[in-house]
Every structure is written in C-alpha cells, then in structure tokens.
Amino acid sequence: MGTRVAAALKDAALAGFVALVLAFPLVGFATNDEGGPSLAIHTRFTWVLLGGAGVFAARLVLTVLRALLPHLVKVGRSNSPARLAGPRRHGARLFGALLVAFAIALPFLPFSSRYLVDLGTTVLIYIMLGWGLNVVVGLAGLLDLGYVAFYAVGAYSFALIARWYGLGFWEALPLSGLLSASFGVLLGFPVLRLRGDYLAIVTLGFGEIVRIVLLNWTDVTGGPNGIAGVPRPTFFGLVLLPRAPNGGATFSQFFGLSFSPDQRIDFLYFVILALALVTNAFSLRLRRLPIGRAWEALREDEIACRALGIDPTRVKLSAFAIGAMLGGFAGAFFATRQGFISPESFTFQESATILAIVVLGGMGSQMGVVLAAILLVTFPEFGRAFAEFRMLLFGAAMVAIMVWRPRGLLAQRAPSVRLRAAAVAVEAT
C-alpha cells in the first residue's frame, strides 16, 4: 500500500512538473499593448504555480479513482477490433430522430438567435463535408488530406456557372457535384497504387495544387480577390431580398410577410439541413449496397478483394468520386451562403478540420461525424470566453478524446447486413 501511495505521489509530481515547465512560457508571460512603441510584458507566475498544483492534484485524484474504481475507468475500452453494435442500435436510432427534430425546430426555439442559426449552418456544412470524407476515409480507408480541393471545386464551379451561364443555385448544384466528382476521379487515377502515408502525401499535394491554381489563374477565378456576387438560393423562384432584382416577387411579398434578413439566414439553414439529410440517407443506403461493402472490404484487405473478383480500380475511383461529389455539394452551398469566395477559404487547415471530424467521430460512423462536427465547430465558439487559451483548451480536449476513446467517439460499426435482425423480425410476426 505504502509503495503504491509513493508511486502515485511520484507520478502526480512528475505530471505537475511537466505542467509547470509547459506553463512557464505559455502562461507565465503575457504581452500587453499599452500604447507605447513596444509591448509591455507582464509575468503571471502565480498562475503557473496554480496550474502546476492543479495538475498535480488532478493527476493524484485520477490515480486514486483508477485504483478504487477499476470498473468505472477503463482506458482504451473501445480498442478491440470492430465492436459491433448490439442492442444499443434502437437507442441510436431514437437519438438520431431526436437530433433531427431538434435541428428542424432550432430556428423557432425561444432561445434561438441569428447567431445560433448561423452557427448551426456552419456545423451542418462541416457535417456534410464530414460525411463526404467519411466515404473516402472511413469506408474505403483511403487517407485523403486534400479533401478541401473538392469543396473548392464545388464552390468555384457554382460561382463560375452562375456568372457565365446565369444559372441559379438549384440548377447549378448538380453540375457542381458532377464537376467535383470528375475531379475526384482525376485525383483517383494517379493514386490508384498508393496507400496509407504515401496516398496522404499525394492528396495533400493535390489540395494545395487546386488552391494555388485558384490563387493564380486570375482571368478565371479572380485570383486572391475571389469571386463576389455569387447568387443566393431562391425558394421556388422567390428571392429572399428586400426587393426582387428584375421585377419578380420576393419571398416576403409572396407570403405577405414583412421582410427581415433573418428569413434568409433561416432559409439557408433549412437548405443545408435538407442537403445534409439527403446526403445522410444517400450514404447510409450506399453502405448497404454491394459498392459500399466493397469499399469496406477494400479498407480491410485489398489483396483479398482482388482474389474475390472485385476490381480495386473501380472501387477506389467510385469512393473518390462519391466523396468528392458530396464535398462539391457542400462547396456550392458554401458559395451561395457567403456570396463571396476566395482561395483563402480552402486552405489545408480546412482539410485538417474535416479529417479531424471524421477521425474524432469514429471512422465510418455517421453519427460520430455529427457529434464531432458539433464539438469541433462550437467548442472554439463557446471557448471565446477563455480568450487566448481557447486553442489550448481545444487542443487539450482533442487529446483527451483520443486518449479516452482512441477509435473515435463512436467506434462501433453497424453491420451492413445482419442475420439476427432478420430472424428476430420473423419471430416477432
């Protein structure tokens, strides 16, 4: 017992010391602009000491808890290969339905605000991107670090189609998706033989190539100035503006409402919500089809796939194309929502965020993507109260999630076809 206490104290002391060392430069000094020619430096060593003491205490408590309640704290519990969904599937379905109901009701809830609906729109864009990337990374197991390229292609396709051919959002949406999908195939061809790290590097390069082309092809893309005046989506031909541009009716006139800019925010929210729900239904369905099973089989073992007569080329290209198409839809929506796009919106940072959503959520899990997108997009927002420590907290939260749930928030994989469910259904009738 005595040795265990000593070991726990030593462990906690070590953690506290590491925290002190880290906190000394990060927390110990703060710069302040006091109007002079240079910044004034303050020291906050009490904070450093408090932080170190806090980590020491927390680590000690954690060790004690772990010793006392081994059944409550199981690190890496979801580490076993492929735990399959058990009786909790009904719970998951109910949770999903509640989440959708909440999403639909969000703009009408009493505490709702323009800011909240706008934030919801951003979350939904990332959910859609996450679901698109999930096809490539989660199902087909092809690590793609340049996914933002397809997002950009979708956005620029729509902006350019609208500018050159005068098409509106709804007409241009499928075209943007198609163009993105063909870029997916374009990327797919050269990387057919690559896997894992090598594939990641090439896709990273592809993402940068697309961004740099957008930045430099000034005649077409407007270069760093981007493209402004991207048309807004209409509600069955009704514009959501104070005045219709060419004499037509506006949404508010048609329904006899007074115009409010909130209507447009709410409308955009519902558009992306509908797109996301369609995307979800589409990818859930695909997963249960032979193509979806082939994606997962490819992730598990490419050689075995070939030995079973599955053409890996087609399977990979279809995964790239479908993933890119969904990213393209999200991109077109992004363009119409912002009204202005520039290469700045499509940096590697975006790819990393989308990949983090997929990995954090649990590869291949649709619901995991939703949870991770909500977390990743809203956490930095709510973290604003912590000012300069926002990103520190954000990083800590991500590390914590990966320590406690190394295979993502929802690591359970639901089989694409199950025998017992069918048998149970027969018994029930």
């Binding site: 290969p81 492929a82 735990r83 399959l84 589409f282 369905r285 695909l286 089809l289 032979p290 193509i291 099973r293 082939a294 997962e296 089989a297 992730r299 598990e300 073992d301 050689i303 075995a304 796939c305 070939r306 030995a307 079973l308 007569g309 599955i310 053409d311 890996p312 994989r413 089989p415 694409s416 076809v417 199950r418 025998l419 017992r420 069918a422």
Partner: protein, 263 residues
C-alpha cells in the same frame, strides 16, 4: 481438362523460382502440390491468380467451354471471369466485417449486376432485393455447412483460427469458382479440425464437381484427399501421379529426407 499449366517459368532476378513446370488439374478432382519449403509452390499459385506475371508459359483454364489464358489477365478478372478462387497461407479475411458480410462481399459481381451499378439498389427495386435475399440465403447455406451460422453477425476477426480457415474456404466458394486453390488450408489446425477440413474438401469435390488445387505440408491430409499429387523441388517438377505412387517415388524421398550416405 480444367487447368493446364504448360512450361511455366518465373524468374526473380537471378533466381529461377519455377522452372519449366507443366501439370494439369481436372474438374471433380483434388490435385495437391507439395514440396519442401521454398520449392516454389506458393509462387505457382501467385502466377495462377495473377499476383505475379510468369516469365514464360501458358496457363489455360477452361470454364463453360471457354478457355481463359490466365497469364494475360488481371488478378480480379481471373477470379471474376475465369472462375479461379483462392485462399491465403496467412488468412486474409475482412476482419472488421461480420462473418455474413464476408460471404456477401464474395458475391460482389452478381450483386453489382443486379444493382445496376448501384442505381437499382439505390432505388430499392425488387430485382435487386431478390438478388440480395438470394445472396444472403446462399451465404447462410455455406455458414450452416461450416458450422458458423450462429456466429453470422460476429466480426470475422474474432473467430477462432480454425473457424477463420473454414470461413475463408466458404468465402472462396461463394464466388462460384470453377477451380478452388487452397494455400496450406490445414496450417495451424489441430488433428480434429484437419479431419473436418478433409471431409469438407471431399464434399465440395463430390457435390459441386469443381476442381481443387491444394498446397499442403500435412501429409495425412494430402495423402488422404488427393486424387493426384505434383511434387516440386527447387522450382522443378520431380514427380506427378496418384498419392500412392508419389509416396514411394525415389526422387521424392530424396528431396524430403536427403540422400543416403554412400558409405
């Protein structure tokens, strides 16, 4: 003749791994390829299944009256069109997917056709639903046969080793092959499991009438089930015939046991 291998040679740099090998395998028969370690057995398999390109030689597989020349085909087309299915020395199941899914994936080609490249499947048309039900029924029939029906919804990677071996054979059979190639199917099995495997192989041969090509080190299994045995040593064929004749062949004994001291 189901499979005819003629003058097969494959060279890796300076090493002639398979040297002018000719043999044949017939439908409704189990043909075993044996030989000491490094004799080139798995290399022959990898040539047949398109993982290696032979340097010289012709590999002809006849299916439904059409002759496929395997040395010119892509690996996946050998499995899909020529009807050659294989298992692996180190099991290659889709470990994270369920037992049932493993067998359904093996029926990818007919299901893909039925789903009209996912279009009919996306719409949930009845033609596709029928095809899917049929695929599941076929999978269940095989699972029942290898005694894994109760574990259909478990992850394949969680099965015991012997069950994984049987599942891999069932998965290969779900592709409706004309020739089944098994690479050391008894490796790591205990005596009872090997006995069950022998019964399974005989049943597949007698009921489906397909050809089975077998690489194996377990002589009890080879001598027990094979109709014909081909012996390789250093990439060359040193014997070819019924098990009893091969067992007493002087060259085979020499290859396995070494030469008797002259003194």
């Amino acid at each position: 003749m189901l499979l005819e291998v003629e003058h097969l040679s494959i060279r890796f740099g300076g090493l002639l791994a398979v040297d002018d090998l000719s043999f044949a395998a017939e439908a409704g028969q189990i043909t075993a390829i044996i030989g000491p370690n490094g004799a080139g057995k798995t290399t022959v398999f990898n040539c047949l299944t398109g993982f290696y390109r032979p340097s010289v030689g012709r590999l002809a597989l006849e299916r439904d009256g059409v002759t496929h020349y395997l040395e010119r085909m892509d690996g996946y087309r050998i499995a899909r069109d020529a009807g050659l299915a294989r298992t692996f020395q180190n099991i290659r199941l889709f470990a994270g997917m369920t037992v049932l899914e493993n067998l359904v994936v093996a029926q990818h080609a007919p299901l893909m056709r039925a789903s009209a490249f996912s279009l009919a499947g996306l719409l949930g048309l009845p033609g596709y639903r029928r095809a899917e039900t049929h695929a599941i029924e076929k999978s269940c029939a095989w699972l029942d046969r290898i005694g894994l029906l109760a574990r259909a919804d478990d992850a394949a990677g969680n099965l015991p080793y012997g069950a994984q071996r049987r599942l891999e054979i069932a998965r290969a059979m779900c592709t409706d092959p004309a020739l089944l190639c098994l690479d050391e199917p008894a490796a790591g099995l205990n005596a009872r499991e090997t006995g069950e495997l022998m019964a399974l192989l005989r049943a597949i041969r007698d009921e489906t009438g397909i050809g089975i090509l077998l690489i194996e080190h377990d002589m009890r299994l080879v001598m027990g089930v094979s109709d014909r045995v081909v012996v390789l040593n250093y990439g060359q064929k040193i014997a070819d015939g019924p098990p009893d004749a091969v067992r007493h062949d002087a060259a085979v004994i020499k290859a396995y046991l070494g030469e008797e001291d002259a003194a």
